[in-house]
């Protein structure tokens, strides 16, 4: 028993959804204690952390020369190792009310098609952030647990977790993954698509935050019952001055069509690869959507129309992964069996 595991006795075990867009932390016996954007604002001159999470998100795209707001996660994996470590450190401390000598056991959900190098980066970051034990679990699996799917039954369940950086599609039966696939098209890609669309069609340059807001407010995957419009403010590329335009949901749907098609394709491929017995179960139970992307308006309707299967959305799609990971904390023996490291 080393010193870290000694200290772990005095720390709450943590489940972390280290997402591209948001990081959520679940502390055993407490629930979700941190729910903040995965953004860090750094001072370029000193290298010191200026802000993390919500505060840093406010700074995104509005920083002076000496401060830079960084999203250390990209496509579901770590893009900036050092900054991720600082961010994790901050969140772990926050989860423990800034107590000293904190060495928790940590469970982290990662995309299913993660490489060995990326896996290693996540583990190292957590260890450097003073974890005493780190376990990685597949996001799709924990998303299913968090959403409340009966995964222990000998029946097929299909879960689609649309996060910030990746979309994970998995077929689960008897607490195991039968098929899983991860595509790097999700929330952030949709924001990009909206930015590109407005630039191409209206010569209007907008920031990431505005694009995300447009997606949340009027983004949809299937025609809405009641049309929506939104006022977008940005910089006109030709005139170089700020400009405001009004846009409706049809245009945003067009902008998002490519991303939605990619996700649909991933689902279709998963259905094709599913063993026939499980296919029969899935035709009864349908598909469950989790993750922030599941909140895109009428995405469930679109998938229902395209696949002919019933589609359900998790009750709290944003927190599904962290809730599922958190449930694993109560059984470390089971966790050691199913963790992918």
């Amino acid at each position: 028993m080393n010193l870290r595991s000694l200290f772990s006795l005095f720390s709450s075990d943590l489940a972390i959804d280290l997402g591209t867009a948001n990081t959520l932390v679940f502390a055993k016996g407490k629930g979700i204690v941190v729910d903040e954007p995965s953004i860090v604002a750094l001072n370029k001159n000193t290298g010191a952390v200026e802000a993390v999470g919500k505060e840093a998100k406010e700074m995104l795209g509005r920083t002076p020369g000496n401060i830079v707001a960084i999203k250390p996660m990209k496509d579901g994996v770590i893009a900036d190792f050092k900054v991720t470590e600082k961010m994790l450190n901050y969140f772990i401390k926050k989860a423990h009310n800034r107590k000293m000598l904190v060495h928790p056991r940590i469970v982290i959900g990662v995309p299913s098609e993660i490489t060995q190098v990326e896996k290693r980066a996540v583990m190292d970051s957590a260890y450097r952030a003073k974890a005493s034990e780190v376990h990685l679990v597949e996001q799709a699996m924990v998303a299913a647990i968090g959403a409340g799917l009966p995964i222990t039954e000998p029946a097929g369940n299909m879960v689609v977790d649309i996060g910030g950086g990746t979309t994970d599609v998995a077929v689960i039966s008897l607490s195991g993954i039968v098929y899983s696939r991860s595509v790097r098209v999700a929330g952030n890609e949709m924001d990009d698509a909206i930015m590109q669309y407005l630039k191409r069609k209206y010569n209007l340059l907008i920031g990431e935050r505005t694009a995300e807001m447009v997606k949340i407010e009027i983004g949809s995957a299937y025609p809405l019952d009641k049309p929506l419009t939104w006022e977008i403010k940005g910089r006109n590329l030709i005139e170089g001055i700020p400009k405001t335009i009004t846009i409706d949901d049809t245009e945003i749907r067009e902008a998002l069509s490519e991303c939605v098609a990619t996700i649909l394709n991933a689902i279709r491929v998963a259905l094709e690869r599913t063993p026939p017995e499980l296919s029969a179960d899935i035709s009864d139970r349908g598909i469950v959507l989790t993750g922030g992307g599941a909140m895109l308006k009428n995405l469930d309707k679109r998938i229902r129309e395209e696949t002919g299967l019933p589609v359900s959305i998790a009750d709290d799609p944003l927190a599904s992964v962290v809730l599922g990971t958190g449930r694993m904390l109560s059984d470390f023996k089971l966790l050691r069996k199913i963790s992918i490291d």
């Binding site: 799917l149 035709s283 139970r285």
Partner: protein, 352 residues
């Protein structure tokens, strides 16, 4: 009040749509929809599906979330966690009925219990004290004469010498052999440096012209290869930092002709020899100023050349070297000479 299934069926009848039409719209099998209408929810898949399917059917018939909220409530009961169930069972069990001894908890001090949380800082602090006590005992046992020797040594050695032990890490980082350091911290004569002695000119010979005058009376130190140590000197007392450089052991006072001031701009380790005798070694923090007086020569080993400013008789010597580099500076009343240290000292070479 009608049950949910009946309400859904009557609404569907009201619209005049068949189960198949609803099934076509929601893609939920007609068999499952029929089960909902019959309030036979066990026929539905478990967990999230049950609630989701009822909700989708209700939405398809134009019900709002409020209309069905109370009915959905019954499905929101989470399946209990098996471990929690087991734990509750153990807690509610009388102590004698508990199966294993390990399950009997008189004081529940697990980290997530109330008592456990309250005791956390106490236990952590107690643990640290216990570790410290174990280390102290181990040290006393490992030292031949235990703590007695430690304290007597501490009394003899001046504060600056004790400090010399601290920068061990920084010196070894500067790739100086460990032996060099130990010799530098406790500059005992001849015996401590067999290599240097081997190179020295025959014993009992007079010091060469280059040897500093104090060496003649107290020839305790082996200084650079050119300087000959006069062996046979019985003991060398460790000098007291600062003023000792100008006061030889026989009590003769030599008028200092130079005053050297060190000012650290950032944390820097220095080891100083004045007039051939080791003076002090210390990790100077940024802003620290130390001054020593000497008559002949001051030799300084600097661990972080960029972080130290040296002035000789009030005049700055100028930059010694880049940050993080190791340099040797030799100061005489006439000026300063800067040397870069070799990666490894030659065997038998004189350490600072």
């Amino acid at each position: 009040m009608n049950s949910l299934g009946e309400r859904l069926r009557s609404k569907r009848m009201e619209y005049g749509v068949s189960l198949d039409q609803v099934a076509d719209r929601t893609k939920i099998g007609a068999r499952l929809l029929a089960a909902i209408e019959e309030n036979d929810f066990d026929r539905l898949p478990g967990g999230l599906f049950r609630r989701s399917f009822v909700r989708q059917y209700a939405y398809a018939l134009g019900f709002s979330e409020e209309d069905i909220a109370s009915d959905l409530g019954r499905f929101t009961v989470e399946e209990p966690n098996p471990e929690e169930v087991a734990e509750q069972a153990v807690r509610s069990m009388p102590v004698r009925a508990a199966g294993r001894l390990s399950e009997i908890r008189i004081f529940d001090i697990r980290p997530d219990s109330f008592l456990g949380r309250a005791l956390q800082p106490v236990v952590a602090f107690g643990g640290l004290i216990a570790v410290a006590a174990i280390c102290a005992t181990a040290y006393g046992w490992w030292q031949p004469n235990g703590w007695a020797e430690h304290w007597s040594k501490a009394g003899r050695i001046s504060a600056s010498t004790v400090e010399a032990a601290k920068p061990a890490a920084s010196v070894s980082r500067a790739s100086l052999p460990a032996a060099t350091l130990s010799a530098a911290s406790v500059p005992l004569p001849g015996a401590a440096l067999p290599g240097a002695q081997a190179k020295a000119t025959p014993p009992a010979s007079a010091p060469t012209a280059k040897a500093p005058p104090p060496a003649a009376s107290a020839p305790a130190k082996v200084v650079p290869a050119k300087v000959v140590p006069a062996t046979g000197a019985p003991t060398a007392r460790l000098p007291t930092a600062g003023v000792a450089a100008a006061t030889p052991h026989d009590g003769r006072t030599v008028t200092p002709t130079m005053e050297v001031a060190f000012r650290a701009t950032e944390p820097t380790w220095v080891s100083v020899t004045s007039d051939g005798r080791w003076s002090f070694a210390s990790a100077l923090q940024g802003g620290t100023v130390r001054t020593i007086a000497a008559s002949e020569m001051v030799r300084v080993l600097v661990g972080n050349a960029g972080g130290l400013e040296i002035s000789l008789n009030g005049k700055p010597v100028g930059p010694i070297g880049p940050r993080g580099k190791v340099r040797i500076v030799e100061l005489t009343p006439s000026g300063a000479q800067i040397q870069t240290t070799p990666r490894k000292l030659a065997p038998g070479a004189e350490p600072l």
